[in-house]
Amino acid sequence: MKILRNRLSSALLVLLGASFITFTLARVIPSDPALAYIGPKATAAEAAKLRITLGLDQPIPVQYFKYLIETFQGNWGYSLSTKQPILQEIADRLPATLELIFFAISFAVIFGVALGVYAAKYRGKFQDSLIRIFAIIGVSMPAFWLGLLLQMLFAGRLTWFPATGQFDIELKYDHPITRVTGFPLFDSIITGNYHATFNGLHHMILPALTLSAYSFGLLSRMARANLLEVLSQDYVKVARAYGLSERLIFFKLALRNALPPIVTVTGLSAAYLITGTFFVEQVYNWPGIGSFAVNSLLSIDYPAIMGITLVAAIGYLVTNFIVDLIQSKLDPRVWMK
């Protein structure tokens, strides 16, 4: 538990630092933040007045401290482009993004690990090299491009899947999703609104596949490499020497031993997906944080960008933390390190 406390405190430190970097970027780099707020039309006098009301006249550390307190109190300011409270904007959009990430990661883990194991089992055979090629293609694929291609092919030409959005628009009127947890797809399941569920899944496939490409590549390579690593260990020889069946050794022992690093990589790629959603949601017009982030970036919506960055950093931390927790369950040695 002590270790846990240490981790939490260090996490907090990192978060502070992260928020500081964002803050500095937002406050220092642009010529005049006040201008950003009232626009080029502002007279010098107006700008000066605003600078004081915004506290821009104080030294950066003071401003930062204020910003921290405000942020902590849940006052994240208003988006310049939508005029809505940032926190609310993010809260409204987060579920869609998390559902997308969840499915992407699931695809990546299921297919990635499965193929990686398969490749390890047939090491050196052609299945192996085939999978290796798949994997490296996965990690080399620009998500935005893959998204466009899939959209053009499977939505545009073949019309197998919808091209955009998380649900059909009619759904709002035919089979409205009753809000329980705020996660639309999940809610549709627990409220037994299966029409909505299927529709959601139908919409989910293309974006999730696009998003998962990179993680898939990463995971299948990792799974293969680690499995081979494990299989070359003494304790596997011992297991053989004691007549344990190959199935048992491969699927129970080796796989179990290869799991911890795979979990780590899963966490890593989950973090990668946080920024991945920016591009995928952009292409598929997904109603999540990602598209909001891109819009905020392009319109230089300071408060929004700072809010999003903070949330992303938190997401990153949380992922790592979860990974560590799982790790400690999987590998008795973790807490030693």
Partner: protein, 316 residues
């Protein structure tokens, strides 16, 4: 006194892309009778461990094995038969206990898996394991069973290894450098333990070590291996007291002992040839002080009393 294991001119080739790249075993002949200990001694890379591996039938797919192995009442056995014998009638102790146990399972779990594999009745397993652990001198059984490998010392782990080896009351125990990874005193204790267990359990043992003194301590019969061949074998006492083969002499010369005055330690110059492909004649010739042209031919097998030596330079 019945023969437990008989290995006759065991040869192993390693194949890569269809061609032989190495022949590390070039005709090993061994015989162990029940309750007896055969010690195999030789420098690292002589093929000691490989001999054990091929007896266990655990050679990698890239290896081809020739020669015959007879085991107890099974008679001639091939790798396939070994799959059933391995782990029950023949068990093995390994060099490095730290890496020999799976780091993410408790000792208990790992012993348990082996026990289950041996079709021991579930309700009996627990007590059997406890008994075994006690017999190897681990009395805090509960703790040991519930600890992970990294939580135990090398000595304790090696004891656990031995306990694991004895779960199935084997006919033959192969001990591959069981003490090398341990520090001297622990090593001694472990050796002692093995010895006493052997008396009580009555299994035969194939004891592999590069350390002649260790071999001398535990084995009744010993075989000196060089470059994939047994160059000299016989009752431990005889071999130790009057070694015939130059290599054996060299080995013995390298051990300090009370008999020899200080500074008489001799060493064998040169190293074991790394690849034994297409090596003819006496493989020790290159390093042998008394070697000559004759030594390029296959050396004759000379028998002196119970000692068997493969050398041109030994007079019968």
């Amino acid at each position: 006194m019945s023969t437990v294991l008989k290995v006759s001119n065991l040869e192993v080739d390693f194949i890569a892309a269809g061609t032989v790249i190495n022949t590390p075993l070039r005709g090993i002949n061994l015989e162990i009778s029940s309750g007896q200990t055969l010690g195999i001694v030789g420098e690292t890379g002589c093929g000691k461990t490989l001999t054990a591996t091929s007896i266990m039938g655990l050679l990698p797919s890239s290896a081809i094995q020739r020669g015959s192995i007879e085991f107890a009442e099974h008679g001639l056995v091939n790798a396939a038969d070994m799959a059933d014998i391995r782990g029950s009638e023949i068990t093995m102790i390994f060099q490095n206990p730290q890496s020999a146990f799976n780091p993410i399972f408790t000792i208990g779990t790992q012993l348990h898996m082996v026990a289950v594999r041996r079709q021991i009745a579930r309700n009996k397993i627990e007590q059997l394991l406890h008994a075994r652990l006690r017999s190897v001198g681990l009395n805090d059984v509960k703790r040991v069973m519930n600890s992970y490998p990294h939580e135990l010392s090398g000595g304790m782990l090696q004891r656990c290894m031995i306990a694991m080896a004895l779960i199935s009351t084997p006919k033959l125990l192969i001990a591959d450098e069981p003490t090398t990874a341990l520090d001297a005193t622990i090593g001694h204790q472990v050796l002692g333990l093995i010895r006493s267990l052997q008396q009580s359990e009555g299994f035969a043992m194939l004891f592999i070590s590069h350390d002649v003194s260790a071999v001398a301590k535990v084995s009744d019969v010993m075989a000196v291996v060089y470059a994939g061949r047994v160059v000299e074998s016989g009752p431990t006492q005889d071999v130790m007291n009057n070694p015939q083969h130059p290599y054996t002499k060299g080995l013995l010369g390298a051990i300090p002992s009370a008999k020899k005055p200080r500074g008489e330690l001799t060493a064998i110059t040169g190293n074991v040839p790394s690849s034994l492909k297409a090596l003819t004649g006496c493989s020790f010739a290159k390093r042998c002080t008394s070697a000559d042209a004759q030594c390029l031919g296959e050396p004759p097998i000379i028998q002196i009393k119970e000692q068997v030596i493969a050398c041109w330079k030994v007079a019968p």
